[in-house]
Symmetry: C2
């Protein structure tokens, strides 16, 4: 398809598509002659992901470019490629190494991972920005005096593991590794807010069941 | 305790405490004489919540004041009081009523709530900003061409319901309704990011188990 059709089918204005092309967020089309390029389904799919990242997720263009670089890096193993793409997304806070609460938090997270038998997560450890941000968040809770230890987190972690199994089962249904990584990235940006809304709605439902609506 | 001790025990500078008092985020202490007021455990607890809202959750001062007004409103029933406090927190997007995807999304959310038997959530419906923001998020996914129907969401919603039961069980262990609402608010601000980090960490663990670490 030509640029005009790509714009029609994606709902993205041609000027925006040209901007994405210039910024390297969208791979160039197949050049037919000096002024015309041909685009296909992979461009449409990529455009959707770019909009998810930039327009919905408010991911800065430079970060989006890094995410997409990893999405396209077929030389990486699947876990590393997935991780690398997700790790370039905006993450939670970094741990404050000056605070004594950080050491306690790190010990609790480690105890949590042992309890759960999450050996790979323990092995990756603080290489992962997700692991570091969990430590930072637990430290904030502890510093404010709210309880947050391995026992409290474990059952929630098990529910989230159930959700993660389901996430990966969905990925398995896709053909190529690139599509898998694309879905993982768009899920992190688009589906996490859905999950949070479902959690809050479940709290309203459960509260109304226990205490009535008024 | 005096202001200086309240500052020591909370780790909040006296100037900041005075600012919170002026802004009505912290109730005044018991005035002993013209220049001295006496504070107690409820002030310490409230100070912790104010820091969670403003410093960690980056909730604007005006919104924080509204949240706390509902936390303190003992005339309300428990569900309404909880809801009112939580509804004043920054919420997700509002549905775009101009978009045809919004009607489809609203129908899918309604079908989801029927499937789950979440009758109270259906009854509260779009009165709840959480319900509205779920509709808006589903509409965005659909508009971008990502699948997000009742069947896809239902198992995730059930996991979140399990988490919500656990949340409310934790609330039950507290004595007063005010403490319950305070914990619900601080959980929304502080524990939701922990849950998101646990979900991402579970994805890393599960991916490493299925495909290896490299």
């Amino acid at each position: 398809m030509r640029l005009a059709e790509l714009s029609d089918r994606s709902g993205v204005p041609t000027a925006t598509i040209k901007y994405y092309l210039r910024e390297g967020l969208l791979p160039p089309g197949r050049q037919i002659n000096a002024t015309t390029a041909e685009y296909d389904g992979t461009h449409l799919r990529r455009l959707r992901l770019v909009r998810a990242l930039i327009q919905v997720g408010r991911v800065p263009v430079a970060a989006a470019r890094e995410v997409l670089r990893h999405v396209d890096d077929e030389s990486l193993g699947r876990t590393i490629r997935l991780g690398a793409a997700l790790w370039e997304l905006p993450q939670g806070p970094e741990p404050d190494e000056e605070s004594p609460a950080t050491a306690t938090a790190r010990a609790e997270v480690d105890r949590l991972l042992r309890t759960l038998g999450w050996d790979s997560a323990r092995e990756i450890g603080s290489l992962s920005p997700v692991h570091r941000s969990l430590v930072a968040l637990v430290a904030v809770l502890l510093r404010l005096g709210y309880p947050c230890d391995a026992e409290l987190m474990a059952p929630y972690a098990q529910l989230m593991h159930e959700a993660a199994r389901r996430d990966l089962d969905r990925l398995e249904t896709l053909d190529s590794d690139t599509e898998k990584v694309e879905l993982a990235v768009s899920s992190a940006v688009l589906f996490e807010p859905v999950l949070r809304a479902l959690h809050r709605l479940a709290q309203e439902e459960e509260s109304a069941r226990r205490y009535g609506i008024t």
